[in-house]
Point group: C2
Chain length 242, copies 2
Amino acid sequence: MDQRLDIHNSDVPVLCQACEVRHRGVCGALNPKQLIALAKTSSRRKVDAGAELFGDKEPVVSYSNILSGVVKLTKTLSDGREQIVGLQFAPDFLGRPFKAESDVSAEAATDVSLCSFPKAAVDRMMQEAPGLEQRLLKQTLRQLDDARAWMVTLGRKTAAEKVASFLLLIAHNIDPTADSDRGTTVFDLPLTRADMAAFLGLTIETVSRQMTRLRSKGVIQIENNRRITVDNMARLAARSGD
Amino acid sequence: MDQRLDIHNSDVPVLCQACEVRHRGVCGALNPKQLIALAKTSSRRKVDAGAELFGDKEPVVSYSNILSGVVKLTKTLSDGREQIVGLQFAPDFLGRPFKAESDVSAEAATDVSLCSFPKAAVDRMMQEAPGLEQRLLKQTLRQLDDARAWMVTLGRKTAAEKVASFLLLIAHNIDPTADSDRGTTVFDLPLTRADMAAFLGLTIETVSRQMTRLRSKGVIQIENNRRITVDNMARLAARSGD
DNA sequence: CCCGGACCTTGATCTCGATCAAATCGGAAC
DNA sequence: GTTCCGATTTGATCGAGATCAAGGTCCGGG
């Protein structure tokens, strides 16, 4: 009832009215009143590819929604070996509730636009809006599923299967309608070869060789290193090992 | 107030009064009234090492708390390659909310005792008890941290570092007081060499060779294949690559 | 005590992906 | 256009871990 009224008096904050992820992101769980309270303290910003959003072991004072672009989450061993442990796409929520500091660092893989909130404001709102907590739980469970699926890729797949799995992952995230039945799919890789290697647990050289191999077998076309065309998704999927 | 009264009229279900994980598990978020409602439909059971708790792609109709023992979560590729994607210890909650079927299979690595609940009963209670949802969110976030930490192990560590990392993981889970400052730590491995290989993304032979190597360097002692003694945790930690 | 089967270790060899080392490409600045 | 520099590709070689193949150990049951 209250909810019903709120929907009609359309005092949704200006910032949110034009928001790309208004309904898909965690904000979708808030009523207009809560949205107004949160919007007061939130701010949009753009960051360039390569910029660090927050570092490992660094106190994190804000959460963010990703509005566009791709963010990579990385962990680094003491001797410098690096592994990307997650990729986040719009409208993912960025940040680790219940902990003052993250144990991953987050870096913009592409140009990224964000909507950031003070950590404390969201933490407070989580207590009042159970729907918010539920959205976070759902996203976290999905990320856990993704992480576990990727553990199989890291632990058991060959280099060729890893690269094919990566291309499928990106194709599905960039263009959710891409599917094995459909014909040609085109997308831009959000990652450099070095990033791909860091995500796949391989070296740059191996990634490059496997990409070349997929191209020479006619599974993919490569334009300017970044633009990928997949004529037949099923053929690519057949090489992913799943 | 209501809460305060409830605590004193100690009508906590008999089943729960003796529960090993009463306060540490997700049930700790429930008040006695909710606990009674849930206990009506819950049941304790023991399963032998090796038994499958639920399979991949199989509809799951119940959740469980692990009361004792270790459960392994595995994923299998179409050609049979297998990867353990998580280990669960008491008092972990087992099950995937918001999804009818799991995409991992769960198997008892050791003898395990469980307390199981019908999925529907817990799902209903999650709506009413926000504390329950918050506990689940916290556990899920912790599991996501664990999964990401393990991705580094799978993607970037050498066989020697993987085995050392595994021993540290087990030592810390079996005996939470084990720490680098302290002297001797003794524990039983909950996994066979084959399971260790499946968790580490290695073969049985490589795991065995690395264990032998750690023994011959005096980092660990091995008794009957399963009982491990670590005289100096710091020496083991130094070999984990972190 | 002896047997049988599962689990584990050890050895020899092979192979995939890492490493080392040059080219070559692509795009931004001028 | 030309230059330059980081990103990528390609080639040659190496080596960690897989694979193939025996043995050895542990433990429960007759």
